[in-house]
């Protein structure tokens, strides 16, 4: 870890300042300018994310920036390691895709200003900036502010249509998120009380196994789980993600829930790498397994397409947490199982693409039919073949069928489960894959069936929007073709203990 700012690290500041300026400008210029500003930001932000990833890859080191030249513990540091860079690129690509898609859903009128478009186009860069701040945050309190930024940007997206049920969903989401934040903050307070710093790198040097550290990590993890909607904190997610407009659902399910998961990784693998706790990791794994089973089974019983996809998110979040029991070794000082770790992260990234594509496909279908009841989907495969194809591609990744990002991720988790002799996780992964296959086929079988009467679409669906959805779904599949070497990006900046290579 470098102990001063590194060259090129000002890009980290840009990754936050660009979207934040976008929010301010959108608000003051208003109307259709908000949409224009968001569209201008998209390529710029993507370029920044790619440049950061390239810099991390080239230097094979962590990019680090001390804000205002104040070094921690007094100041706040931003750091981008390989994991941050990968997540930032994921977020950037997805935001660009979702933004292009949303132009058809939230068009801004020429003259006047409409509520929903202004709010959406202002909050889109806000979500982006908050995500970037989470991915590069090096200070636990700064991360708290970033999490709140993310919450306040995400909650209004849920109730954008103003219906009573989405208002209730948004309120419930907000209450869970607030509980999560305050528990997270409480843990950070305890860590400051014990070690006098909130900087992640400094903390990882000082932290000792003991009651304070354990209480702090447990509180923070619990808070983050409430925000990530891991079972049994999952109840708020389906109504919120299913009730939001399609582009917002894609942001929420694809990206927003990944931020608290990302921070759990930070806590468990960066702050306390030298004090692994297998028992606690098993608990996370069990919750993950329960999420996979409960989420998948409930998804199978849904009658509405968007709710089915939302319950599938509950299940897919479960996979992320299988990484903890598989990657953390029982003996102190053993290297992690890097395969499991990489598998978990790859699952987060490929699920982001797949789920965003599926939610937007469902949005197009609902726009065309005027409803999203699964029983009434017959014939849509003929009417919107590209959209249904995109949905199927996303489903392939969810099931973990080759070739897809989901396949590689789940294969890595399986390999790790076998290598670690923890075969029961392998069973969970396989059963979860079968159940996912069940609910995806449930939808596809309906969609591809012939309609009893000719289908009339309420509104024509523009090919460009369908193209965006397919492109994102293809990204999820292409992740399966990435050779293993680029995955080493994820290992840049891992503590030495993690060096073990991908087996």
């Amino acid at each position: 870890m470098p102990n001063s700012a590194t060259a090129g690290a000002f890009l980290l500041i840009l990754a936050i300042v660009l979207p934040v300026s976008g929010v301010l400008l959108s608000l003051v210029l208003g109307g259709r300018h908000a949409e224009r500003i968001a569209l201008i930001l998209m390529p710029a932000g993507l370029a920044v994310a790619l440049t950061i990833a390239a810099a991390v890859w080239r230097t094979h080191n962590v990019l680090q920036y001390f804000v205002g030249n104040w070094s921690p513990p007094l100041g706040v540091a931003f750091r981008a390691d390989g994991l941050s860079a990968a997540m930032m690129v994921t977020a950037a690509v997805l935001i660009c895709g979702i933004g292009l898609f949303a132009r058809g859903q939230f068009p801004s009128p020429q003259q006047s200003e409409l509520r929903a478009p202004l709010v959406f186009w202002t909050l889109l860069p806000a979500v982006w900036g908050a995500l970037n701040a989470v991915f590069i945050g090096g200070d636990l309190f700064n991360l708290y502010v970033a999490l709140e930024l993310l919450t306040f940007a995400a909650v209004p997206l849920v109730s954008l249509d103003g219906r009573a049920e989405t208002l209730a969903a948004a309120l419930r989401y907000l209450l869970f998120a607030l509980l999560g934040s305050i528990l997270y903050l409480l843990g950070a307070v305890l860590l400051y009380g014990a070690y006098g710093t909130l900087d992640i790198v400094l903390l990882s040097g000082h932290i000792q196994a003991g009651p304070i550290a354990w209480a702090a990590i447990s509180l923070m993890t619990t808070g983050l789980l409430a925000k990530a909607a891991l079972y049994p904190f999952h109840l708020w997610l389906p109504p919120a993600h299913a009730g939001a407009p399609a582009p917002a659902s894609a942001i929420l399910s694809g990206l927003v829930v990944k931020a608290p998961f990302f921070l759990v990784i930070r806590l468990w693998f960066d702050i306390m790498p030298r004090m692994p706790e297998p028992a606690a990791a098993q608990v996370l794994g069990i919750l993950g397994a329960a999420a996979i089973l409960v989420g998948s089974v409930v998804a199978l019983r849904q009658v509405r397409l968007k709710l089915l996809i939302a319950y599938s998110t509950v299940a897919q979040i479960g996979y992320l947490f299988l990484m903890f029991p598989l990657a953390i070794k029982p003996e102190m000082g053993d290297p992690w199982n890097t395969t499991a770790w990489t598998g978990g992260v790859l699952q987060a990234i490929s699920h982001a693409f797949a789920k965003a594509a599926m939610f937007m496909a469902a949005g197009l279908i609902a726009e065309a039919l005027g409803h999203d009841r699964i029983a009434g989907l017959s014939g849509i495969g003929r009417a919107l073949p590209i959209t249904v194809f995109a949905f199927a591609l996303g489903g392939v990744s969810l099931m973990g069928l080759p070739p897809s990002g989901g396949f590689v991720a789940k294969a890595m988790l399986l390999t790790a489960a076998v290598a670690e002799g923890q075969w029961w996780w392998a069973v969970v992964v396989l059963v979860g894959g079968l159940l996912a296959g069940g609910y995806v086929f449930l939808v596809l079988a309906r969609a591809l069936a012939d309609a009893s009467q000719p289908l009339t679409l309420l509104s024509p669906i523009s090919p460009s929007r369908q193209g965006v959805v397919v492109a994102l779904a293809v990204c999820a599949v292409l992740l399966g073709f990435i050779p293993l070497r680029p995955l080493e990006l994820l290992q840049i900046g891992r503590p030495d203990i993690a060096v073990g290579g991908i087996r």
Partner: protein, 102 residues
């Protein structure tokens, strides 16, 4: 037992009390109140940490003090958003609860 420890214990109890209210009250307004109660407890614990770190001629560590101020303002913003959502929900449905379980 010093004053700081006394208030620290007070903060610990406040967190538990607020958490209880957040879990058992069905009305969102009471949940929002309970959330603010927890917030007060967490900030109080942070204030105790600050007080224990009194040094360099200051009565307390100024870094936590600044962070608490930031936290109080953020908690207010959260409360305002939650109440606005609740009032709108009430206007739409006439209900003050979230239904099944919230």
């Amino acid at each position: 037992m010093s004053d700081a420890i006394l208030y620290g214990l007070c903060g610990a109890v406040l967190v538990g009390l607020g958490l209880f209210g957040l879990i058992v009250h069905p009305q969102p307004l009471r949940k929002i109140l309970a959330f603010n109660l927890i917030g007060g407890g967490v900030f109080l614990l942070f204030g105790v940490v600050a007080r224990r770190g009194a040094a360099a001629g200051f009565g307390g560590d100024p870094v936590p003090h600044a962070l608490i101020i930031t936290g109080i303002v953020v908690a207010f913003a959260a409360t305002a958003l939650a109440i606005a959502l609740l009032l709108r929900l009430f206007r739409e449905t006439g209900r003050t609860t979230l239904g099944s379980d919230g």
